[in-house]
């Protein structure tokens, strides 16, 4: 079983690496790039919202900030198209992270519903700023990013694909590490009962904020890469509320709080969404189908695919099912010998 745990993801990674070689058609690799980008975003969103349980619906703001950061850097520093802009991705991410620090601090002073709304409000403020700060962002006319003119038609998508894949691996590694760390356990405890966790010594404030900033960092990088890929951005496009909705839906579909869930959700939803955009080009249909799909997913699979599968799997495997309360512990031995625990703090 353990071998499967290591071999599985590695095999999957190998498939992803080989994918563009097997399906070189630019139409397909374009969809693949978008899918990878959203998979990264969903994984990053899950690091915050999945683990802490605070649903943030304003992360598209950081996506947009990253986009504009890259556009501005390329414009001001006259960066040519090619491989160079890729190196600026972490910088764009850091810019987004820098914004997320004070914004996250403010937002995290609230809980639950107020939190969701304030993240939405922050998003709209950022969008409006992009519209209004003409001098900086060129307003609604938008900005352009450098175009790698030396890359041929067939080759064009490949660097984007592999950089996007790299970002995904990075995000996934971060998510995995956090999940297995003491820090991650603290986040999950916050999700279950924040005040209880606080009373047990978990530093809830810094924990939540750091997860928020980390996810914003990734969103910034994804936004920047996305902007570079599509070559131009404008406020409504870089700051698009549907991004938040799509990312949230992907994470929910796959299983909020799981490692692979968001990726699974992205793999299912993004290609579907691209297909819809092409097929139902008339805007009206697209929204209707998307919305209905949304509704069906939430009502049918409220917990997400992976957790539902897991439950089914556990039921099958353990016969009676390990879900029922277990009678064993109490009442079995009325006068149980008390085994004394060792006193003294544990040496790590």
């Amino acid at each position: 079983m353990k071998i499967l745990r290591i071999a599985g993801p590695l095999a999957f990674l190998a498939v992803l690496v080989a994918f563009p070689q097997i399906f070189p058609s630019p139409a397909i690799t374009t969809v693949a790039v978008f899918t990878l980008l959203f998979a990264t975003a969903a994984t990053a969103w899950n690091i915050f919202s999945g683990y802490t349980g605070y649903i943030a619906l304003g992360h598209a703001a950081f996506f947009g900030i990253g986009s504009y950061a890259l556009a501005l850097m390329c414009k001001d520093w006259k960066v040519p198209g090619g491989y160079l802009p890729f190196l600026l991705l972490p910088v764009a991410g850091l810019v987004a992270a820098a914004f997320s620090l004070p914004l996250g601090w403010i937002a995290l002073r609230t809980r639950r519903h107020a939190f969701v709304v304030i993240t939405i409000a922050i998003f709209f403020v950022m969008q409006l700023m992009a519209f209004n700060l003409h001098g900086l962002t060129n307003g609604s006319a938008g900005m352009e990013l450098p175009i790698p003119i030396h890359w041929s038609g067939k080759f064009f998508n490949l660097p984007f694909y592999y950089v996007a894949l790299f970002l995904l691996v990075l995000a996934l590694a971060a998510s995995w590490w956090i999940r297995n760390s003491k820090y991650g356990l603290g986040l999950l405890a916050i999700r279950d009962d924040e005040d209880r966790a606080l009373g047990l010594g978990v530093k809830t404030g810094p924990a939540k904020l750091s997860a928020f900033v980390l996810s914003a960092f990734f969103f910034g990088m994804v936004g920047a890469l996305h902007a570079y890929f599509v070559e131009s951005i404008y406020p409504a496009f870089a700051f698009d509320p549907l991004i938040d909705v799509a990312v949230a839906l992907m994470a929910f579909l796959g299983g909020l709080g799981t490692l692979a869930g968001p990726i699974l959700g992205a793999l299912i939803l993004e290609p579907t969404q691209q297909y819809f955009t092409v097929r139902f080009s008339q805007n009206g249909y697209y929204l209707i189908v998307y919305g209905l799909l949304f509704l069906v997913i939430i009502l049918v699979l409220p917990e997400g695919i992976l957790p539902t599968l897991r439950k089914v799997w556990l039921k099958r495997w353990s016969g009676r099912g390990r879900s029922g309360p277990v009678e064993s512990a109490e009442g079995a031995h009325p006068k149980m010998a008390i085994k004394m625990p060792q006193k003294g703090r544990v040496e790590p």
């Binding site: 009373g199 010594g201 309360p325 109490e330 009442g331 008390i338």
Partner: protein
Amino acid sequence: MSLLEVEGISKAFGGIRALDACSVSVEEGSISGLIGPNGSGKTTLFNVITGYESVDGGEVRFEGRSITNARPDRVFEYGIARTFQLTRVFPRLTVLENMHVAAQRQGLKALLGRWSTSAEHRRALELLEFVGIAALRDYPAANLSYGQKKLLEFAFTLIADPSVVLLDEPAGGVNPTMINQIADRIRALNKKGITFLIVEHNMEFVMGLCASVTVLHHGRKIADGSPANVRNDPAVLEAYLGA
């Protein structure tokens, strides 16, 4: 100097004075009881001590130092742990994970390391065995019965080696056999040096376990002393039985 002292604490919620210049002290190494009719302020006192509520006036002192209005995580680090009247565990985490939430290691390096070292793992299992639910360690805490959750909460309060443990109705809603088990464990831990302050309504439990008892009524202390004295104190009888 008592280990834990509360002096002149007042706390009001709107018009209701939950605590009214209340003073209680807990001696080191004792098992003390805190009783009183419903609404007398017992749980509010716990909340105030552990930082879940702020005080309107008065002081909370631990080992001589003032810890008034300290945040719950600081209070825990000082060495004061508590359980809740309505048991609070982490439902979606397994029993073992529940045990590890309580901070034991400090510092950034510890945070980024694995959620459980082998030494911590051993200690967690030890405590789970001590309360008798080690067999349940991989089940989500939500699946445990009420009594098992109580035991779990009791166990993880102990994991970071507190000096004082505040128990809020440990015998509430628990069958008589287990009540005795809980009492035995409290005594055993007390012998090892842990101080207990217990809020309870179950008089037999309190009188049998506690060396000293404090009685609250309307947010004030109206009596304290040995169980025998308190049991016969007219003020106490009136509070419980009278108007």
